[in-house]
Symmetry: C2
Subunit: 434 residues, 2 copies
């Protein structure tokens, strides 16, 4: 299991024009595929953030990877995640996940760890979650993840994709989008990306979702609101998002103090709408500040930027110990990340919500996993009997992803620029907006 070759692929995948408080998704989402090949010819895979910087960081690590044992190199590289454990202010309030330079090293480490675990698992014929030693479920539940969106399926020119879901800029549009997703994937939970339209419209959207689907709804405006607006929404949707419903309100407002003000304000009115976060709380150093302030009742983990799978398991134990819920964050991604998310979730006992996933927003046409897309059945991804992540690479598809990357002009995610280009030339991200 000694690593003899390291291959790094920068790819672009068509991404629909999804809206959030960050702005508008570009026509392409960028991803990086990492291959670590052993002397036996077995290849461990990982998928991580895309564009120039993540690939360059992995490239720079090559000398420490070549010749190293896949079971030992994750220890040898621990320096990449140790510093991140304390003291850094790494809020994602203004920076989208994957673009914050302060967690660049944990992101790089996470990709290497995933590929190493995949390599070891494949070498032994053992699923990755069993290497982590604590598999507690064989199928991992994911949520429908509807977005307000403009017409279009993503991609440009010859790559322009079919618009599977159509425009959705109203409550009815969003309900229709979710109906499609549930019909196709069988989701049992809904995570609704808000922070885009007037809060009154988004409140109505949540109500329609609850009425139509009668399943837990989580609402995530990515810090778009003031404390006052957040409290208004919480007050109005106390039943639809309340603890008893299985829902939550995610990052209604910016900062740990802002979140704490919303929570304590609502509680003082007897309203128990739990607050989740992957914006105000994004790293271990945030936890000792956030917990005593009651700023967050659910933390969103994500092995891609929390420093890997083992650190996600450690985060989960922290949350369990402090009585905090754990959910999972997602970015635009393909099947390798899908399986990595499922594997770590399968080995994380304290996972108290269905995970987020952008997977329905990607398409077979862009999938790099051999044999096509990872199946989501009844809202769940099953852990395959195969070793490691359970997926192999389709090299032709990777080549096409590389080509698309070479041809497209995007080198990092910039939702604000895209908003200015297509929606409003004067648009700026203003927080709070409402």
């Amino acid at each position: 299991m000694r690593i003899t070759d390291v291959r790094i692929h920068k790819i672009a995948i068509a991404d629909p024009p999804l809206r959030s408080s960050y702005g508008l998704h570009q026509p392409y989402a960028l991803r990086t595929i990492l291959e670590l090949q052993s002397e036996d010819g077995i290849v461990g895979l990982a998928e991580t953030y895309g564009g120039e910087a993540p690939a360059a960081a992995l490239e720079a690590l090559k000398p420490r990877l070549i010749g190293a044992h896949a079971l030992k190199v994750t220890g040898a590289l621990m320096d990449l995640v140790q510093g991140s454990g304390s003291g850094d202010a790494r809020s994602q309030t203004m920076l989208v996940p994957g673009e914050n330079p302060l967690d660049a090293n944990p992101r790089t480490y996470a990709a290497v760890e995933t590929a190493c675990l995949d390599l070891v698992g494949k070498s032994l014929g053992v699923p990755l979650c069993d290497l982590l030693g604590t598999r507690v479920r064989d199928a991992v539940p994911f949520s429908a993840y509807p977005f307000y969106k403009h017409a279009g399926g993503g991609g440009e020119g010859d790559d322009a994709r079919e618009d599977e879901y159509g425009e959705a800029l109203s409550p009815e549009g969003l309900v229709s989008q979710v109906r499609q997703m549930i019909a196709r994937y069988g989701f049992k939970d809904i995570k609704f990306k808000a922070g885009v339209l007037d809060p009154e419209v988004e409140i109505e959207t949540v109500r329609q979702l609850r009425r139509e689907f009668q399943m837990p709804v989580r609402m995530d405006p990515n810090s778009a609101w003031t404390v006052e607006t957040s409290m208004n929404v919480g007050r109005t949707l106390r039943e639809e998002l309340g603890a008893d419903s299985g829902g939550y309100l995610e990052d209604p407002t910016a900062s740990i103090d802002g979140m704490a003000a919303v929570r304590t304000g609502l509680l003082s009115e007897g309203i128990d709408v739990p607050l989740a976060s992957n914006v105000a709380v994004t790293c271990f150093a945030d936890l000792p500040e956030a917990f005593p302030k009651d700023a967050v009742q659910i933390v969103l983990c994500d092995h891609h930027y929390w420093g890997g799978m083992r650190l996600v398991q450690q985060l989960a134990k922290i949350c369990q110990t402090w009585g905090i819920g754990l959910s999972m964050h997602s970015n635009s991604h393909l099947g390798i990340s899908m399986m990595a998310m499922a594997q770590v979730a399968a080995a994380t006992p304290h996972l108290t919500y269905a995970c987020d996933t952008h997977y329905p927003w990607s398409q077979l046409k862009d999938e790099v996993v051999a044999g096509g897309r990872v199946p989501i059945v009844d809202g769940c991804v099953r852990i395959p009997e195969r070793g490691g992540l359970g997926v192999e690479l389709d090299h032709d598809q990777v080549a096409r992803g590389r080509e698309r990357y070479a041809k497209c002009p995007y080198r990092k995610r910039d939702d604000e620029a895209e908003m200015r280009k297509h929606v409003d030339p004067t648009w700026r991200r203003i927080l709070p907006r409402w």
Copy 2:
């Protein structure tokens, strides 16, 4: 790596008449050796608490172990450690480690996890710490662990052992004991078991230790003192045990609130003697209470009762995140536990003190590790290049340990009864004593 045979050995090892606030060690310490054999004939080992109850708990688990894959069974058994994560009051104030029924399941799980990891590591030829994925050191520092003791080397009748260290019931006796230990093992730290003699005598002992050896000294009276006495000792030994010295004061008084009173009291006088604990703080549920009260600045981990190696790593991450130190607790043990402690310590980045070990109190005559005792050189145990724990079983020695167990009358640890038998027929453990 499917488990086809489970063997459980109850053994007894000669143990010298060591004193602590719990009382007096019996002439034999009891241990359990667990063997998990795979279909390939490879055997994974663990060593845990002894006597009837731990062996019975492992015995009861046999049906869940036989036929299970060594990499999967630790996940399948997670129910044994999940309940322990919250809510249980598991203080070791009155019960010695290993005798608290409330962490019986985590202790059982830990033995199985260790043996499984050993089995996997041996199957792959990979050291156990590399299976844990985060090896950050190749040699693990341990401390000299002097005790006040009566004359005698432990064991009874034909088993009576040579008294390597002699009686030590005075400061001078203790210094002489440490001198012997350092000469033989090269320790660079001293963990001093106090709570036995009058605090004035123990203060003088610490002073002589510091003067003689000029190395960090930790003092552990196992809750023997009142808050007032604890503060007096902290005040008097502010330099000898202060944060700058690398020392600490461990469990001077009982309970989280008692510890908090000592800490805040000393801090209010400008005295920074950090407090460590494995009595007031013994499980994950204790942490959210202890940290905000500043009751503990260092937690002592121990994979044997914290639910295994992975949970120790998670405890370490918690401590790192909250700015709390991490040290390691020890009980009377042989070479299998020694290597297990070294392996988990090697894979625990945030280990801020040399580990405790009772290993010098055991002898070659009782060692069950093939080839004899695990070497401690310059105070450190090196991680061997071999797979798993790095040690194999000497079956003749195990047989002798079983014989000794069968012959001796002890079936559980009871330091109080032993005190009454040999020192004072009216002795009772009184907390606080001073």
